[in-house]
Symmetry: C2
DNA sequence: CTGAAAGCGCTAACAC
DNA sequence: GTGTTAGCGCTTTCAG
């Protein structure tokens, strides 16, 4: 329809059309404070803009103003049922702030990550978000740090970068607390890999909740499992076969809980009645569709993504090292506990 | 560490350092064909670049060269277990082509979509991808079309834009075929909303497979269900209660299949033996963790994302209207059929 | 083989 | 109030 490959309309064209200078056009378009443009001139400029279909050129603007309003996001999208949520949160916050997100997925490939950051720096991004799919320690790509950088769902062991992560301990506490409130006293914890922050934190919360309720933690009720349905199934069966079996089970994640459901059902027990089950992650597709619905703890991906964008422009840096900012993990109550 | 807020090193700085002109620097950095730069000069330039930590300014480059190597992606990320895959496919292909993806999620909000496209055009993107979470007809945002645009997982009713969608019919055919090959003759289809392209296509494939195998389609075996686990559960129960129940069930999606599992199990039948089950979507988290594993058809999101990026630079446009490009939906065999 | 010079489209002092 | 002017950092013809 319209001129596709014809040269773009420039600010000068608009100025000519109205019979004013480019400065004037620039001023009305950027609503420059302290530029008293008569209403009539302003109107005519805007009109010309519309008629001519003028569209500012961001590159020219960036070059002249030295501002790009671009934020780079480096992440591992592949393995991610979750990454989408981080992107969404970050994107929406950025959009609100009038910024745009430049995204590149570097699947844990240091080469690609470095190249990605390099490219972003050439693009003069005003900040970089480095996000991971699961909570862990990382060493951010070279080049990050030349602009404000925030780590999302991960942290730098040396604390050189601000970072935002889920409050695993609080989540573990709330999950366990839920079981306690439902009347359970023997509560098991089917853990993930004992090394990772998620496990450490969740277990810490689990034990604190127990202690607070006057329940002595029982080592035999804390078992590590392979982080999927099979793992949850196997561990749950073992736990339920114990001489003094638990009546409440806190599963390291929803996938394990999914397996635990099968185990509980196979033993003829009713979930939510005979045995209470709580998961972690709130993977809608599991938690929401399991029958009965799985009570679980949600990972605040969207919120972390959004907050991270805000952090980019906040407090440039505290003096020493950065402690990860903990984000609340809300308990999502359904019917399993 | 390094100069953070100091002015950036420019090409001129590099030129001065080496004692050549900016042109020369530009030529060696862009490997300009037909610019016979002596190896020694070239080496010295590269060295100076490294020493000075020179980083080209993309905005300046874009302004001068009138190329941005930017591709815009407008999508609805929220509702998406899938969107991530499209982004990933598109991102990786773009990266390979030396392009960057500008992403904005517009949750089916026309206002936001239009604004997003507008912003992208200001950014002078060289192409726009408009992707949806589920296969459907759309009317692309205003402004798209001013640059090459490709619709992903959706299509324009009027065929004004090239688009790429899943080959639903082929998927439905393969799914049904799988059941037939497993020896089933009475095969039911629990459909999604009968209006949507997914249902229409999958059903078409289902019937074609039946016919080809000499099986007369039986209307009573085709039932619409609410597209979630509850829906699948309910419909499966009804089907299995029929005087002449099906032994094979093709479920409109994996969530429904998930519900069907429960129904089949409750009737004391064994999945994969007494009754064959096939889903659609290949949602890893369901299909892979259900026990036994669910045989299903995968939606080629990554491939569509990647192909779409390629399409952007291909055949500018055929003459008349565009027919959606069908993408193969691979059957993923597990144990349920 | 390399340099001078003219833009690319816009911003922002500084004048008028 | 509005115009002049000098860049922003790079590409690219055109000379030499």
């Amino acid at each position: 329809m319209t001129d596709k490959n014809q040269r773009h309309v420039t600010m000068g064209d608009v100025a000519d059309r109205v019979g004013v200078s480019r400065t004037t056009v620039s001023f009305v378009l950027s609503d420059r404070p302290g530029a008293n443009i008569p209403a009539e001139t302003r109107r005519r400029v805007l009109e010309a803009v519309r008629e001519l279909g003028y569209r500012p050129n961001a590159a020219a603007k960036s070059l002249a103003s030295q501002r790009t309003h671009l934020i780079g996001l480096v992440t591992e999208i592949a393995t991610a049922p979750f990454a989408g949520a981080i992107i969404k949160g970050a994107q929406e916050q950025a959009w609100k702030d009038g910024k745009l997100l430049l995204i590149v997925s570097a699947e844990r490939d240091r080469q690609v990550e470095d190249a990605a950051v390099e490219t972003m720096l050439e693009r003069r991004v005003e900040g970089i978000l480095y996000a991971t799919t699961w909570h862990r320690a990382v060493t951010p790509p070279a080049g990050a740090g030349e602009v404000p950088t925030v780590l999302v769902n991960c942290f730098d062991v040396e604390g050189r970068y601000p970072s935002i992560v889920p409050d695993e301990a609080q989540g573990g506490y709330d999950a366990t607390r839920r079981l306690i409130d439902a009347g359970h006293r023997r509560i098991a914890f089917i853990a993930l890999d004992p090394e990772i922050p998620a496990t450490v934190g969740r277990r810490e919360g689990y034990e604190r909740a127990l202690l607070e309720a006057g329940i002595e933690p029982d080592e035999t009720l804390v078992v590590p499992g392979y982080a999927d349905a099979e793992g949850g199934y196997a561990r749950a069966h073992e736990l339920l076969a114990l001489p003094e079996p638990p009546t409440g089970i806190f599963c390291g994640n929803d996938r394990m809980a999914m397996g635990a459901y099968d185990a509980v059902k196979e033993r003829g027990l009713r979930i939510g009645h005979d045995v209470g089950l709580v998961g972690f992650d709130n993977q809608e597709i599991i938690a929401g569709y399991l029958r009965p619905g799985l009570t679980t703890v949600a990972l605040p991906f969207e919120e972390m993504g959004a907050r991270a964008v805000q952090m980019l422009t906040e407090s440039p840096s505290a003096s020493g090292a950065f402690a990860p900012l903990l984000t609340h993990c809300p308990l999502v109550e359904r019917a399993s506990a």
